[in-house]
């Protein structure tokens, strides 16, 4: 980016952190120079967030050292990090919807100037960096991209030397991404270093000077992204050569699930509305829907599970219009779902596994007769799930919250699969789950498809989708790209679909 050699800003040496049962970071070392845009790349569980928490003072390393501008750097809490000139914009914002922009910025500062002066400063900084913001506007009225600007301005007003950004573009529209990149380049030109955590390979190649790639807590390589292709970066992240998926020769049955032009406002405050979603899934087919969080996955699942009703004629299962049907009517019709949030949504944390089996299985497994619960049958169902899916638990009488993440996820997915559905829709089925359990879950989904069911898998994990899906679509800003067969799909094309191009007409030259 610049002609002369850049001074070293942050040096990380041998940073290690272990939690009971898992090594989050092992001997991680890299350097960030002043004015450099440095990417941190890795999949779920690679150790990115733990590493960054150590740099920001939220977590203390077990071993290793850090140096900031030559001096020893070991922040005891975020306040110390901020005082040393390190600022961070989190993926989940700490913002207050009912307050205005100036008030939100003031709350994030140690000693804010009086409101009048602060508003002027905000105006000044936001104009200087091309992040237009009006200090008087209520935060709740701002889009996700504008809210992120508030977080960034909050950081900029403290004059940081190192700005850490955690998955910043997951909530941005393509135009907002451009605006953000311009800002970051400007900051870098002025000497501020940027540590950029992201999944999005194309963006990293476009923006970042250097990339540190983590896998399973270790540094795999430090490279220049522009010199590598997206595919190479993906392979370094995942750790193996990505082979084209083998031909699947599962016979396709009749159309099991059809969504026609589904549009829906989001029930959540920070949510994404769905716009004109259409898809078709046949028996025996696995449809993978990719998309980074915040693009409508939760809303799509709520619409499919029946927790939100949609306009008549938008959701069909085996020829029946289920758009206005509730969750249990849909289960009876053969459509089951598994939400992303294990504790609190898919399962009640304080209830036993038997009760949680009843929660979703009542309709299809005949667990309720004339209003009365058949507890022995429910128990048997829970035990069957535990047996079949190797759920490690002392018994079915324990509360759901006592199970580990992986085991609970096996139970939750297994519960749906054992209901012998015609269509199953899962959202992030292996999120936060260890490799063995993840493999078991994916295999179970494939087996279900082989038995003739239609499977829809919504996931952020490209690897997983390429492994199990026959067809592929991307969810972006509430819209779904047209479906394409996975076979013959390149990583570049996938990245584009996820990155915001609606349809693949966008030319991909020079990439």
């Amino acid at each position: 980016m610049q002609g002369e050699a850049m001074a070293e800003l942050l040096a990380v040496e041998g940073l290690t952190k272990t939690y009971p049962g898992v090594v989050a970071n092992q001997e991680v070392s890299f350097t960030i120079k002043a004015g450099e845009v440095h990417a941190l790349l890795g999949e779920n569980g690679a150790g990115k967030s733990t590493l960054v928490k150590m740099i920001y003072g939220l977590v203390r390393p077990d071993a290793g050292r850090m140096r900031l501008r030559g001096a020893a750097y070991a922040p005891a809490e975020p306040r110390a990090a901020r005082a040393a000139g390190v600022a961070m914009v989190f993926q989940h914002f700490s913002l207050f919807e009912a307050l205005n922009v100036a008030e939100n910025v003031a709350l994030g500062m140690e000693n804010p100037p009086p409101m009048g002066a602060l508003a002027a400063r905000i105006q000044q900084v936001s104009d200087a960096y091309g992040l237009p913001l009006e200090p008087e506007r209520r935060l709740g009225d701002l889009s996700a991209g504008e809210r992120q600007r508030v977080e960034i301005i909050r950081c900029l007003l403290q004059d940081p030397k190192l700005l850490i950004m955690d998955e910043p573009t997951s909530v941005l529209t393509p135009q907002e991404v451009e605006t953000l990149f311009r800002t970051l380049r400007q900051l870098a030109a002025e000497g501020t270093a940027i540590l950029y955590i992201s999944h999005k390979l194309e963006e990293i190649r476009a923006l970042c000077d250097t990339a540190t790639i983590l896998r399973r807590g270790r540094v795999v390589t430090i490279c220049t992204p522009a010199e590598r292709s997206a595919r190479e970066l993906a392979e370094l992240m995942v750790g193996e050569a990505l082979t084209a998926p083998a031909r699947r020769d599962r016979p396709r049955g009749a159309v099991a699930l059809e969504v026609r032009n589904l549009s829906l406002p989001s029930p959540m405050a920070f949510g994404t509305a769905l716009a004109g979603i259409s898809l078709t899934v046949r028996g025996g087919q696995v449809l993978g829907i990719a998309g980074v969080a915040g693009n409508g996955q939760d809303e799509l699942l709520l619409a499919l599970s029946g927790e939100i009703g949609s306009a008549p004629g938008t959701i069909w299962v085996a020829g029946t219009d289920l758009a206005q049907a509730g969750p249990n009517a849909r289960r009876r019709a053969g459509l089951v779902t598994a939400p992303e949030e294990r504790l609190g949504h898919a399962a009640a944390p304080d209830m036993t596994l038997v009760e949680n089996a009843l929660l979703s299985g009542a309709a299809r497994k005949g667990l309720v007769a004339r209003g009365f619960i058949d507890w022995p049958k429910a128990r048997a169902f829970a035990e069957a799930v535990v047996q079949r899916f190797d759920v490690r638990t002392p018994g079915v009488g324990v509360a759901a919250r006592a199970l580990s993440g992986g085991n609970l996820q096996k139970f939750v997915i297994g519960r749906e699969i054992l209901q012998d559905p015609a269509v199953v829709v899962v959202n992030q089925p292996t999120w936060g789950v260890d490799a063995a359990a993840a493999a078991a879950i994916r295999q179970a989904l494939l087996d279900l498809a082989a038995a003739g069911a239609a499977v829809v898998c919504i996931s952020q994990d490209l690897d997983e989708l390429l492994e199990i899906a026959d067809d592929f679509a991307a969810l972006n800003g509430g819209r779904l790209t047209p479906t394409r067969p996975v076979q013959g799909l390149t990583i570049d094309q996938i990245g584009l679909m996820m990155g915001g191009a609606h349809g693949l007409e966008v030319a991909h030259h020079g990439l």
Partner: protein, 361 residues
Amino acid sequence: MLRLEKRPNPSRGWTAATPVLAVALTMIAGGIMFAALGKNPFEAIRIIFWDPLFNPQFASYSRPQLLVKAAPLILIAVGLSLGFKAGIWNIGAEGQYIMGAIAGAGVGLAFYPAQGWYIFPLMVLAGGVGGWLWAMIPALLRTRFATSEILVSLLLVYVAQAILASMSLGLLRNPEGGGFPGSRNLAQYPAAANPELIGGSGVHWGVVAALVAVIATTILLQRHILGFQVRLAGQAPRAARFAGVSPNRLVVLCLGISGALAGLAGLFEVAGPAGQISIDFGSNYGFTAIIVAFLGRLNPIGILLAGLLMALTYIGGELSQFLLGLPAAAIQAFQGMLLFFLLALDLLSNYRIHWTARGGR
């Protein structure tokens, strides 16, 4: 310093122990309060808890009163507990109790002086419906307008009390009562009366109803899908939606059931122990029932025991008033303390307490 850590499994042991512990702590604190009032604490505690049951001088009078006082408390509390479990707060049971009494008494008096087996059952029906209707107001306002059922049901208590006064002085006033406020005495009108069923035991139809309610609710909570939905909605609202529970339907059902039961309690009381509609008919059962519901840990059997305990404190309180000159308000304060201790101890079933050195991370 203290740190709270959520237990992986709710502790069964503590869940059973906390009410007992709360009672014990309240006795101690209450004893201190009595001592501050200049009474011998041990004697006071004995008079309140022991004498009404076992002292030969008083027991024959007090023991039947136990069931009389406990029945409305249990009946109302059982209804309330369903809603509370689901996070639906019916605070206006007192108002529903009053309206049920008025409705039932009104029906009974309309038939006066006819005799017929059908009169009492009709009154019972009217009582339930009266309470149910009064509870439907906050229910509908909540489902249609998202208005807080806490405030609406509460404010309606004052309205109900005003209606009670109006009825005592107007529509339901006894024409042969010499101009005094109050209705005809229903307990003396055989077709409408709610008499003592077993001599000397205090058992009347209200007691039977309370028992039936306890059994029915136990079955409902353990074996019926509605009971499961109630528990689920209170614990994990998102999971309840996932399971197909309709929040609005639950609100209407829970408020309806608790209103109907409170109305029934009112009817049994006005046709039995109280006897007539009068300005001071409302005896705060509706509010005390809230304490009973929590003391019983929102569990029907627990409520049965808690209701008996509360009734004991009422009767013992009257006795202590008589024997020691202890003011009636002391018992109310005592009951409030009981709820405090219970709420304070409640967290032990779900959290473990750790002592950590300062600055641990």
